[in-house]
Amino acid sequence: MANWIPLWLHKLSSPPVFYRFAGSLRPWAITLAVLLGVIALYGGLVLAPSDYQQGNDYRIIFIHVPCAWMSLFIYGVMGVAAFIALVWRIKLAEVIAMASAPIGAAFTFITLVTGSLWGERMWGTWWTWDARLTSELVLLFLYLGVIALYHSFEDRRQGARTAAFLALIGIINVPIVHFSVNWWNTLHQGSTIRLLGPSTIATSMLWPLLTMMAATKLYYIASLFGRARVDLLTLESGKDWVRQIAQNEVRG
């Protein structure tokens, strides 16, 4: 391992260390995710005022937008993990990349469905082939491709490395999804929340949105850690540390 990688990160990449670390963090993440999710839903569906233009129909934003952010964020994580897996062949990076794919696919699917419902009410159509909608659909297909490729190999590590390649190439689609509303004339509106410059949403509507964003992030962590733990146990099933855990389980 190159010496510029911090020691703690190096240690964390060892399967037994990560297994214990993820196991201790997971309950906190899931508890916080549920708590913040409930607060955000109450804030968004009950406390937030109705919109001047869209009335109450805009409230689907509190599901649609955080899920859309997650669909891109998880792809980013998957791409970086895939890159590390391809260059350094770290087992944990392969596991993280492959465990992220189904979670990201689920968020992308929810984004497309809620967007379709919203579009029917506001635009007057369930679907249209504008750049934002199309590129988000491509994102779903990329996720599904990564999952399918991973499972089409007998050897799981071989499958993970091949699928990691697709995951890495597909990361080019992430900026395309994000900037599609600026690069083309689209039916979909532009970004409301901007990191640079003022956001165009009232504060009473903004806080539930940001709370939901935190909740979805924490849910991702919890779900990823759960999946990664199972994958690590399967991959390392012959190793001493796994046998130790199995023996403890039997005795307990």
Binding site: S50, G124, L187, G190
Partner: protein, 156 residues
């Protein structure tokens, strides 16, 4: 970093750069060709003349909506900064359709007017309560009056 990893890193970065360049070129080319919609001024400039059906996008001019008494036929004018286009549509309009709303109509040209087969409403990325919108509209109107009076002063 050992030579094997160094080599893998170089190969993967080279592939990634190649794909990024390819994607950038595709995006650049599509920006020229892939138009989801044309604005009235683009249509009048002849940009849409190679298409039989296309989408027309712009704002519904206030006071231009006319509904037929005996059918679902609606006529209105779509405007952008530099042009206006009369539109005819038979059918049910989305809830958001109203004066000064952005709309996207799919259809074809029939002489100088545009016959739409589908009309979609576009909304912007701004979300705020109605009270705030009214307050802002009032403040905005006040500013206009100030500007107008300033201009009057300058003229005097």
């Amino acid at each position: 970093m050992n030579p094997t990893r160094q080599r893998r890193l170089t190969i993967i970065i080279a592939i990634l750069v190649a794909f990024t360049v390819a994607a950038a070129l595709v995006v650049y080319a599509l920006q020229q060709n892939m138009n989801y919609l044309f604005t009235p001024s683009q249509v009048q400039a002849g940009d849409a003349s190679s298409y039989k059906t296309f989408r027309l996008g712009g704002m519904v001019k206030s006071g231009s909506i006319q509904r037929a008494g005996d059918s679902l036929k609606v006529t209105f004018t779509v405007v952008d900064a530099g042009g206006a286009m009369p539109v005819e549509y038979i059918g049910i309009l989305p809830d958001l359709f109203r004066e000064n709303q952005s709309v996207i109509a799919t259809g074809h040209m029939d002489g100088a007017r545009f016959v739409a087969t589908e009309v979609l409403a576009k909304h912007d990325e701004t979300y705020m309560p109605k009270e705030l919108k009214d307050a802002m509209a009032k403040a905005h109107a006040g500013k206009h009056i100030d500007e107008a009076s300033n201009q009057d002063k300058q003229q005097l």
